[in-house]
């Protein structure tokens, strides 16, 4: 007997969980906007637009952390290439912003330098917002689907899979670094002004983008929660813990892995698309292998296989990063390196695992 979807949805969390989500959303969607837009700048309660955008960017990165947790934490597939999907989503959005910011028939500077008189074919259609939205889902999704199909079908897994995903993002980075590729080379796409008729540098637009990121994060979280608590989620955990045994019991891991892998890539793409108008630039360095590995450590630090952990981990690392790189720029890599080394050694289940242990000790 199938449970109606609404009931399944409401069962994602207990009462306390829903209240917490509601409180967080109120904080993010009511309190922050009020403090930013209504409270005057002189007040010590005022949140400057800069901070709002910063939080908005962190929230986009938290979506990536969720996506990584979905495939690594729950399915046991470690990808070192999620940055590629993130950047692809970003580039798609960047292409729209570029076209929307220029007058009809006008080309971005880097194309004029290349001697082009019209947009290359793959820029077709990006003046339309809805086409762009479709592409944000399709470009990372299709790439992930094809790549995943090939890899999972021939049972590439574990460290092998990690290495070839790293090669994937590295190859894409090289491709996008080339000026001839037609996506701005090493400067990437920048100089964005206009999104749906609004100026992206405007405080109001910034707030809207931030709010969109918050909503996207909330929806992504609920979607991931839905996936991992469903029967599908059980199979994913089985893939992680005993793939061979699962195969012998009649399941084909390919379908499950492919689904969750593609979903994860799409989530990363959405995050990238929301991230780019808030930073104002997208360039190939987002595809550098080191970026993708850094994303993985957010999940490791927070605690994988928990969904809450990655949110905590990505928040903690990014807040720390922006603070340390501002105050002690030389020491940041030591910090980050230490997290990478110490987390697997001392807290293999991350921050969430640490809390659990404390809780259990109290209970005992």
């Amino acid at each position: 007997m199938r449970t109606p979807l609404v009931i399944r949805f409401l069962a994602l969390h207990g009462r306390r969980g829903w209240i917490a989500i509601g409180l967080l959303l109120t904080l993010a969607l009511v309190v922050v906007p009020v403090l930013n837009l209504v409270v005057p700048p002189e007040s010590s309660f005022h949140i400057p637009t800069y901070t709002v955008t910063l939080i908005g960017r962190f929230i986009c990165l938290a979506i990536v952390a969720l996506a990584i947790d979905l495939i690594w934490g729950y399915t046991g597939v470690l990808s070192l290439g999620q940055g590629a999907f993130f950047a692809l989503g970003g580039y798609v959005m960047g292409m729209h912003l570029t076209r929307a910011s220029l007058a009809e028939g006008q080309l971005p500077n880097f194309m004029a330098y290349m001697g082009l008189t019209e947009y290359p074919w793959f820029w077709f259609g990006f003046e339309s917002f809805w086409y762009t939205v479709l592409m944000i889902l399709l470009v990372p999704g299709v790439l992930a689907f094809v790549f995943g199909f090939l890899a999972f079908r021939s049972r590439v897994r574990g460290v092998y899979f990690a290495i070839i995903t790293q090669a994937l993002t590295f190859a894409l980075m090289l491709l996008f670094f080339r000026g001839e590729t037609g996506l701005g080379g090493d400067t990437g796409l920048t100089g964005f002004q206009n999104l749906l008729g609004f100026d992206v540098r405007d405080a109001g637009t910034r707030m809207a983008l931030y709010s969109a990121s918050v909503i996207a994060l909330a929806l992504s979280y609920l979607l991931c929660r839905f996936v991992v608590t469903s029967k599908l989620g059980r199979v994913l955990i089985a893939v992680r813990d005993a793939e061979t045994r699962l195969r012998f019991t009649g399941y084909d891991p390919l379908t499950y892995k492919l689904f969750v892998w593609t979903l994860s890539a799409v989530l990363c793409g959405i995050a990238g698309a929301l991230y780019v108008p808030q930073t104002g630039v997208i360039n190939p360095s987002e595809m550098a292998p080191a970026q993708s590995i850094e994303m993985v450590v957010w999940v490791a630090l927070g605690g994988r296989g928990t969904l809450i952990g990655p949110l905590i981990g990505s928040g903690a690392v990014n807040v720390m990063k922006s603070w340390v790189t501002q105050n002690y720029p030389d020491l940041w890599l030591f910090f980050l390196g230490a997290i990478f080394v110490l987390v697997p050694l001392l807290m293999p289940r991350g921050i969430v695992g640490l809390f659990d242990r404390v809780k259990r000790r109290k209970a005992a």
Binding site: A162, F177, V297, I339
Partner: protein, 540 residues
């Protein structure tokens, strides 16, 4: 050997002086013509000297070339010594004292130079020193003069060096191409074709050209046919040369890759540990080279050329020690969790990179190749590559031999292979698998250090050196097949050569992308790599 060489040098130095003592009468008369401030007279004198071909005037002519030849009112020629303000007699070579203001310089302009150069070459072609003869032959082949046919023939009879013979033949053939006789032209074309001289191609193509009326410039059909054959021969040689050059260059690139990946192949292949800090081990090897170089430059500059050799064992030990420290300190706690090892070693790589950056600065450091390692090597006619490019191939071969020896001819290697095949079984038979892990990791790291020494001679040494190689190295190991050193060798060399041959069509970056995509697709087809292990050890 050295004594013989010294004797030769002595001879070469003394020989002109000896010869000058008995300068022939007509040579002296002709040389006297040089004592003129009118360049036309000088040129005429040179023509006469060219016919006489007396080596006694060589010092005088070389002095003229360097603007050191002067004459006084009596028509006597003097050479200004390069070292100081003294003079010597141009023909006898004896030191003389002469007032500088009494002298007039022999004029040297471009027409004189044009005549002078082949005359010098014609005289030098009999020199003892191979290098002098070679440069003379080079000159003759470039600008042959009909007056020199005799000399060239004589030189050919005595010549033992194949390259010089080739150049002299080209000189003769060039002369004959202008001959009235169709037979001689035909012979010349055949000769040019048989020595496959690229530089003669335009001349031969000129023979096939037609004037505005559609008549061939070369009237004889046989000569034209021979020219076509010769052009084809030359072009085929050029293709071969380009192919060999690409191949060697590709092998060299592959060797660089191999040196970068070999340590990784040991650690990943034999232990199953993903060492993301591998690139930083390469970097530490390169920085060790830098330090050794600095030490040599400071404390024993006379042995500077040897620093590279000294750096090899030191880099091996330094990076090996870093590797052992990593293994003992961190990695051994994570052996059954490969994905965590990956993250941990990435953290170590960040720390090492930033540490080096804080000690040595973010800029690249300067590692200069010793003299014997710079310069170039001629591989075949028309193909020469820099010594470091060729040297890295040799070095890679040596390192592979070392690794092979370590793995298949030592006790440690035996134990390593035993542990790799079946850890529990090896342990129950008394192999201290824990210690074997440590030494394997140390050896892999040490080999990375050796790679770092080689890389320091080829790429810029900076804190990010390792980052540039890590993905490539993993691709090499994955393509070659894990746990198989020779698979790594094949895949590294194959990737190097393939990318070199792709480059002209696609450019370096696109070639790399194509290869990566190729590898990713290849793994779908053969997940275990090119040379998969068979049997139990292959099971995961």
């Amino acid at each position: 050997m050295i004594r013989v060489f010294r004797l030769l040098v002595l001879l070469a130095l003394v020989w002109p002086t000896l010869a000058a003592a008995s300068v022939a009468e007509d040579t002296q008369t002709a040389a006297a013509g040089l004592a003129s401030s009118n360049w036309r007279e000088v040129a005429a004198a040179l023509e006469t000297l060219a016919e006489l071909a007396d080596p006694a005037v060589l010092p005088a002519l070389q002095a003229l070339q360097n603007r050191r030849l002067s004459f006084d009112e009596d028509g006597r020629l003097y050479i200004a010594n390069a070292a100081d303000d003294t003079y010597r007699d141009a023909l006898s070579g004896e030191p003389v004292t002469v007032a500088e203001d009494a002298l007039t310089a022999v004029p040297l302009n471009n027409p004189v130079r044009r005549i002078l150069r082949p005359v010098i070459a014609q005289l030098q072609i009999f020199a003892e020193d191979d290098k002098q003869r070679l440069s003379a032959a080079e000159e003759l082949a470039q600008r042959p003069n009909p007056a020199m046919r005799e000399t060239i023939n004589r030189a050919l009879e005595q010549e033992g060096n194949a390259e010089i013979e080739r150049l002299l033949n080209i000189a003769l053939a060039t002369l004959d191409l202008d001959s009235e006789s169709a037979e001689r032209r035909l012979e010349a074309v055949k000769l040019v074709g048989s020595v496959r001289a690229s530089r003669m191609k335009p001349r031969l193509q000129g023979l096939l050209a037609q004037d505005s009326d559609g008549h061939y410039l070369e009237p004889d059909q046989r000569v034209r046919d021979a020219a076509e054959t010769a052009i084809a021969a030359i072009e085929s040689r050029e293709r071969t040369a380009a192919f060999v050059s690409d191949l060697v260059f590709g092998l060299s690139m592959g060797s660089v890759l191999l040196l970068a990946a070999l340590g990784l192949a040991i650690i990943f292949g034999l232990m199953g540990v993903i060492n993301m800090a591998h690139g930083e081990l390469l970097m530490i090897g390169a920085y060790t080279t830098f330090l050794v170089q600095t030490l040599f430059a400071t404390f024993m500059p006379q042995f500077f050329g040897l620093y590279l050799l000294a750096a090899l064992p030191i880099a091996f030990l330094v990076t090996g020690a870093v590797g052992i420290a990593m293994e003992r300190g961190v990695i051994r706690f994570l052996y059954n969790r490969p994905l965590e090892t990956l993250l941990t070693t990435f953290g170590i790589s960040l720390i090492l990179m930033q540490g080096i950056r804080m000690v040595f600065g973010a800029q690249n450091v300067r590692v200069s190749s010793p003299e014997w390692f710079s310069g170039s090597v001629q591989i075949m006619q028309g193909v020469s590559l820099s010594t470091s490019r060729v040297g890295v191939i040799v070095f890679a071969a040596l390192v592979v031999a070392l690794v092979w020896f370590l793995m298949y001819r030592t006790r440690l290697g035996l134990e390593v292979r035993a542990v790799m095949q079946n850890r529990k079984m090896a342990a129950s038979l008394g192999v201290a698998s824990n210690r074997v892990d440590m030494w394997t990791f140390g050896a892999g790291a040490g080999v990375a250090g050796l790679g770092g020494v080689a890389l320091s001679q080829i790429v810029n040494v900076g804190p990010e050196l390792g980052q540039g190689f890590i993905v490539d190295s993993f691709m090499v190991v994955v393509l070659g097949g894990v746990g198989n050193i020779f698979g790594t060798v094949f895949s590294a060399l194959g990737l190097g050569v393939a990318s070199k041959f792709l480059e002209p069509a696609t450019g370096a970056v696109l070639a790399k992308i194509i290869l990566f995509v190729g590898i990713i697709l290849f793994i779908q087809w053969r997940p275990q790599g090119l040379f998969a292990l068979k049997g139990r050890s292959a099971a995961d």
